[in-house]
Amino acid sequence: MGKIEWAMWANEQALASGLIYLTGGIVGVAGQLKGWEYAAFGIAAGVFVCLLEYPRSKRAKGTNYERTGQYCFTVCVKAFGPLTSNYYVRAFLHAALCVPGGFMLATVLGCVCLGMASLIYLSAAIHGEHWQPIMPKSEPAKSVTQSIKHPPQNPPPRPPAEMRRKRAEDLESAAYVNPLPVTANE
C-alpha cells in the first residue's frame, strides 16, 4: 500500500475507545460493582484520552479536516511539545492506561479498544509520523491599491478646443453661460 496515514485512523480509534472507557467506568462506579476503583480510574483515563485525542493532526499532504472547536485543544496539546507530538510516547501511554481496565467487567471493552488504538499508534510511529497542530491561516490584509489594476493613462477622448469654445455668432446654442461677454477673434 502507498502512503497510508495510520495516525488518522489511530486517532479516531483512540477517541472512540476513550468514550467507551469512560462509559464503562461510569457504569462500574454507578452500579458499585466489584472493582469499582478500576472503574473510577477508567473514568479519569477516558476523559484524559478524549481530551488528548480530540484535536486532529495536520496531514502531511492534502486537505485537513478539523473537528468542531478543536483550536483550544490544539493549543493545549501543542504546549506539551514532544510528549504529545511523538507517537511512540502516545502508544505507550495508551497501553499503560488501558491495563487497569482489564481487571473489571465494565471496562474490559474500553481496555481492548484502547489497546488496539495503541497498537495502531505504534505502527504510525514506526512509519515516521508525528502530530502536527492545525493552526488557523492568517490571511494577509488586502491592500486597497491592489484592486486598482491599471488606472487609465490618458484622459477620455474629447473634441478639439475649437469645437468646444462658445461661438460668437451662435451664443444661444452654447452649453454654458460666460460671466464675461464673448467677442469674436480679431
Binding site: 502507498g2 485512523w9 480509534q13 472512540a16 460493582l33 466489584k34 486537505t63
Partner: protein, 458 residues
C-alpha cells in the same frame, strides 16, 4: 451494497416510478443507517449483558444450579475473588464481535474515507468474520429455557425437600405435614421430576442468511464479470494532471452514466475504485478520465510497478456528459440539457472541450440547437483567460468569469421550462452541493420543480 442488483432493478420496467428509483439511489444512506443502528443496539446489548451479569450474581440460585452463569453469589458485586464470568464461549465471541464492530466503525468516518480509502475498504471487509461469529455467538449461551414445564410446573413442591426456605411464602409448607396430606391439598402440586434446562436454539441465522446469500451471489456475479480482461487502447494526457484511459472489453457495451470498478493488476495487488465512464466516438471503446493525485495514478502514467492507493477525485459533470454524448437521448425523455461547469483553471476545460464541440455540432446538424446549453465558469480571476484556438470559439463565447450565481441560473431555467420537472445533478464540493440542494427545495417560482441528485465518490 448489492450494486449489480440495484442496477438491474433500476433498469427494469418494474421500477418505473420516479419515487422508487430515487429510493434506490439512496441505497448508500440506507446502508449507513443500518450500520449505525447495529452499533447503537450493540451498545444496548452489551449494557443489558452487564445488567444480566449483576442479576446472575445477586440472584444466584442454589435450587437450580444449572441456571447459573455466575460461579457463586455476589461474584460481581461483593466478594474479592477474581471474576471469570466472561471467559465462556459467548463472552469471548461477544468481545470479538464488539472489537470488529469497533474497527469497522472507526474506519468508516468521513475523514478516513476521504484520506485513506483503503483502510476503510479492508476493515469493512471484516463484516464476513462478523457475521460468522455472530451466528456462533449464541451457542452454549447463558439463556436457557425449561424443557419439562408440564412435569415440573413453576411453584411445585419437591417431595424430597425438607426445608422450604428457598420457596416463596405462598409455597411455604410446614414441616409437620406428611406426603399424603400434601397430595390432598388442591392448590399444591408435587413435582414429578426435576427441572431440565436447555440452551436456546440459535436463531440469528434465520435473519442473517438470506441477505448474506444475496450479497454472496452479487459478489460472485461481479467476480465472474470482472474476470474477463480489459485492453487499454490508448492513454491520452490532458492538462492539469488528468489522463484519459480508453479501454476495450469484449462482449461489453458501455452505457451512459455507469460507474466502474477498476482493478489495475500491474500497478498494485488489488485496489478497486469507482469511476464514471464517458462514451467515446468509437462505440466499441469506453473511456474514463482519471485525475493524477496519488502515487498509483502517477505510476499508471509511467508504467512502473509500485504500491498503490490514495484518494482520487474524478472531475465533475461526467454523469450528464454521458447521457448526452451517448446520442440515445430519445430513450431518456430528456428535452433539454444545461451543463454548468465551474473550474479554477482554463486548462481544465480542455479535458472535454473536444467532446463538447463535437456534440454541439452534431446537435446543430440534427436541427436541435437548443438541446444543449453550455455555461463555463472560470473562478480564477487573476488574469484574463480565454480559449485561443479557433475551433473552440463556441466555448469561448460561453465562458464567464467568476462564480456562478445559482439563483439567477435557476430563475432562468425555471422561466424557460415552466411547469416541468428539472433534474439537477451535482458533482462537486459539499458547500456547492448544500447550496444547490437548498435552492432546489426552496425554488418555487414559475411552477418548475427541481429535483436534486448528488454523486459522491467516498
Amino acid at each position: 451494497m448489492c450494486r449489480s442488483i440495484l442496477t438491474v432493478l433500476r433498469g427494469t420496467q418494474q421500477v418505473n416510478s420516479r419515487k422508487a428509483r430515487r429510493l434506490l439511489d439512496k441505497s448508500k444512506t440506507f446502508h449507513v443507517v443500518c450500520g449505525v443502528s447495529i452499533c447503537v443496539f450493540s451498545v444496548v446489548h452489551v449494557c443489558a449483558h452487564l445488567v444480566n451479569a449483576v442479576s446472575f450474581s445477586v440472584r444466584y440460585s442454589d435450587d437450580f444450579p444449572a441456571l447459573n452463569v455466575a460461579q457463586h453469589r455476589g461474584q460481581v458485586t461483593h466478594t474479592h475473588t477474581h471474576t471469570h464470568t466472561h471467559t465462556h464461549f459467548p463472552g469471548i465471541t461477544g468481545v470479538i464481535l464488539v472489537l470488529i464492530l469497533f474497527l469497522m466503525f472507526t474506519a468508516s468516518s468521513y475523514s478516513i474515507r476521504v484520506c485513506n480509502y483503503e483502510i476503510f475498504w479492508y476493515t469493512h471487509n471484516l463484516f464476513i468474520l462478523f457475521y460468522i461469529i455472530l451466528m456462533l455467538h449464541v451457542v452454549g449461551g447463558a439463556l436457557k429455557y425449561q424443557t419439562n414445564v408440564d412435569t415440573h410446573p413453576p411453584g411445585c413442591i419437591r417431595t424430597n425437600q425438607t426445608n422450604s426456605s428457598s420457596y416463596t411464602s405462598s409455597n411455604q409448607v410446614p414441616e409437620t405435614q406428611t406426603k399424603a396430606e400434601l397430595k390432598e391439598m388442591p392448590h399444591i402440586t408435587v413435582c414429578k421430576e426435576d427441572a431440565h434446562f436447555q440452551h436456546h436454539f440459535p436463531q440469528t441465522w434465520l435473519w442473517v442468511t438470506a441477505p448474506l446469500c444475496l450479497y454472496c451471489a452479487e459478489r460472485l456475479y461481479r467476480y465472474i464479470r470482472g474476470s474477463a480482461p480489459v485492453t487499454v487502447v490508448s492513454v491520452i494526457r490532458h492538462p492539469c494532471d488528468v489522463i484519459e484511459l480508453r479501454m476495450l472489453k469484449s462482449g461489453f457495451k458501455a452505457r451512459p452514466g455507469q460507474s466502474y470498478f477498476i482493478n489495475i493488476l500491474c500497478v498494485c495487488v488489488c485496489v478497486c475504485v469507482y469511476w464514471f465512464q464517458c462514451p467515446t466516438q468509437n462505440k466499441e471503446t469506453f473511456g474514463v478520465h482519471i485525475r493524477v493525485l496519488g502515487d498509483w495514478t502517477v505510476s499508471l502514467l509511467v508504467g512502473k510497478q509500485r504500491k498503490s492507493a490514495r484518494d482520487q477525485i474524478l472531475l465533475g459533470l461526467t454523469v450528464c456528459m454521458c447521457v448526452c454524448c451517448s446520442g440515445g437521448w430519445s430513450q431518456y425523455r430528456l428535452r433539454r440539457l444545461y451543463v454548468v461547469w465551474v473550474c479554477r483553471e482554463l486548462q481544465c476545460f480542455y479535458w472535454f472541450a473536444n467532446l463538447l464541440c463535437d456534440l454541439h455540432h452534431k446537435l446543430w446538424e440534427e436541427n436541435r440547437p437548443d438541446y444543449l446549453n453550455i455555461r463555463l465558469y472560470l473562478t480564477n480571476t487573476q488574469q484574463l483567460q480565454s480559449f485561443s484556438e479557433e475551433r473552440f470559439r463556441l466555448l469561448s463565447s460561453r465562458l464567464l468569469i467568476g462564480r456562478p450565481r445559482w439563483k439567477d441560473i435557476f430563475g432562468e431555467i425555471g422561466r424557460s421550462n415552466q411547469h416541468k420537472k428539472v433534474g439537477v445533478f451535482c458533482c462537486g464540493p459539499k458547500s456547492v452541493s448544500r447550496e444547490l440542494h437548498k435552492l432546489c427545495n426552496s425554488f418555487s417560482a414559475s411552477g418548475t420543480v427541481f429535483e436534486y441528485n448528488k454523486e459522491s465518490f467516498s
